[in-house]
Amino acid sequence: MSARAYNFAYLDEQTKRMIRRAILKAVAIPGYQVPFAAREMPMPYGWGTGGVQVTAAVIGPDDVLKVIDQGADDTTNAVSIRAFFAKTAGVATTTQTERATVIQTRHRVPETPLAEHQILVYQVPIPEPLRFLEPRETETRAMHALAEYGVMHVKLYEDIARHGHIATTYAYPTRVAGRYVMDPSPIPKFDNPKLDDCPALQLFGAGREKRIYAIPPYTQVVSLDFEDHPFERTKFDSACAFCGATDSFLDEVVTDDSGGRMFVCSDTDYCERRQAALEKEAAE
């Protein structure tokens, strides 16, 4: 008997069933936060336990997993989580967005457009978009139930009053399927339009707060704004220093201590493939 040290994908079957039931509910009610009995995971809260539990529940032996952290496949966390699933589920892993069937992400949406057979799993710290203004859980639940979302616009109003424009640049609140207001996790607002009408299934897991929510494929996701201050996508002044892309989210990298800096694509896979394509072109 070959005794595997862990059950497939670490969690026992009953737990995975419980999480899948929560996911089903979440998919049935887009944007609604479904409570689930999050388990203790071999990593502390704040390190992606929610995302890992969702991935563990949906991943199968034939899946190909990609894990990114702030767009990069090669940070410590992304590497660790990828290794975790390679060990406990034995699944194939990749850094290429197009080859992956399950993508777990922390705080970014890949630049490469997603397809219908793919699942994007987001790691969520605070799932409740109303929490910043309303600390009471009983009250926020009632607000969601009654669709009392006036207070979300108060937050945006405050931004404009204070900064002259809506200053929220990440975790920008959205309205899903015209009903629930949802926090898309701390992705830059640059990524918000990608959630709208996306062919892939998007799942959100918050381990510490014990909530799962979802956006089914091809669902309307609208970023909140004012008539006279409409939602605007972030524009960058420069292109990527490596691949020249002008349509991807750029990280600012400080290169020396005399103010030198450069901008590079946050999505490492996207940047690498563009670089490879440019080299190939140059070689021809």
């Binding site: 139930a145 207070v151 109003y157 405050e158 009053a161 006279d228």
Partner: protein, 257 residues
């Protein structure tokens, strides 16, 4: 003869062995200001909270006549309906302004919240309404973007009033609106409230232990003691020609400066 704006019938509440309110009944017409006065333990605050739907009554009914003319019983209203009522047709001015405001939101945001809750999505218009109301409650215009944390007690109370009145409610509940404020601040605030009540034709249910406030703001009064209504009627009549022994005691006990 149309139904009254508010009809309270047999409202009762017990806390253990204490009868906080014993079968209280009264009617309120549009534009009437009713003061409920009494000492501590009279049940006036319990009564206010029950009428406003913030506290469940043990028995009795509260009927509110909507803008469409239909009277609805508060006890059987859904929570969503009641909350919507609170946001649109009703106001509640708390004694402690911090309870009725979002202290970490600017004055403009506080006033504009109800408008945004009702679907107003134009920043410029929201800001203009908030500005307008700030002026009406005599707060300097340059304080629009300040948080009420930086406001004095009197200013906070004015802001709370503005926040409540921006949707032109028909009925406003007030719980000791000037309690806790400096005497010098109270006078202007009371005058402002009197003016707004008259100008907007508001119906008011006001709880206070201060007979002078009752005289200034209300035209009808309910005197309560230990959960019961001892005397009721025209405010100046009850205060100048009290009939019941307890009312005479209450009125004669007030110190004049």
């Amino acid at each position: 003869m149309s139904a009254p704006l508010l009809a309270v019938e047999g409202l009762s509440k017990r806390f253990g062995a204490t009868h906080a309110c014993r079968s209280i009944s009264f009617e309120l017409e549009e534009g009437e200001a009713l003061a409920v006065v009494g000492e501590s333990g009279s049940g006036k605050t319990t009564l206010l909270h029950m009428i406003a739907g913030l506290l469940p009554a043990d028995s009795g009914t509260v009927l509110y006549r909507n803008r469409d003319g239909v009277s609805r019983e508060l006890g059987i209203m859904s929570e969503g309906e009641r909350r919507a009522l609170m946001r649109t047709q009703w106001g509640f001015v708390h004694q402690d302004a911090a309870r009725g405001l979002r202290m970490n939101v600017s004055a403009g945001g506080n006033i504009g919240e109800r408008l945004m809750a009702l679907g107003e999505r134009h920043y410029g218009r929201i800001r203009a309404s908030a500005q307008d109301w700030l002026e009406r409650v005599e707060i300097p215009a340059n304080r629009l973007d300040d948080s009420p944390q930086t406001y004095s007690g009197g200013m906070r109370q004015r802001l709370q009033i503005a926040r409540n009145l921006v949707t032109a409610p028909r009925l406003v509940f007030m719980d000791e609106p000037t309690g806790g404020l400096d005497v010098s601040v109270q006078a202007r605030l009371l005058d402002l409230m009197r003016g707004l009540i008259a100008e907007m034709g508001l119906a008011v249910v006001l709880v206070t232990h201060d007979l002078a406030v009752a005289r200034l703001l209300s035209n009808r009064i309910l005197v309560m003691k230990q959960g019961e209504v001892i005397e009721s009627g025209l405010t100046d009549r009850v205060l100048d020609d009290p009939q019941a022994p307890y009312t005479q005691l209450l009125v004669s006990s007030v110190l004049a400066a």
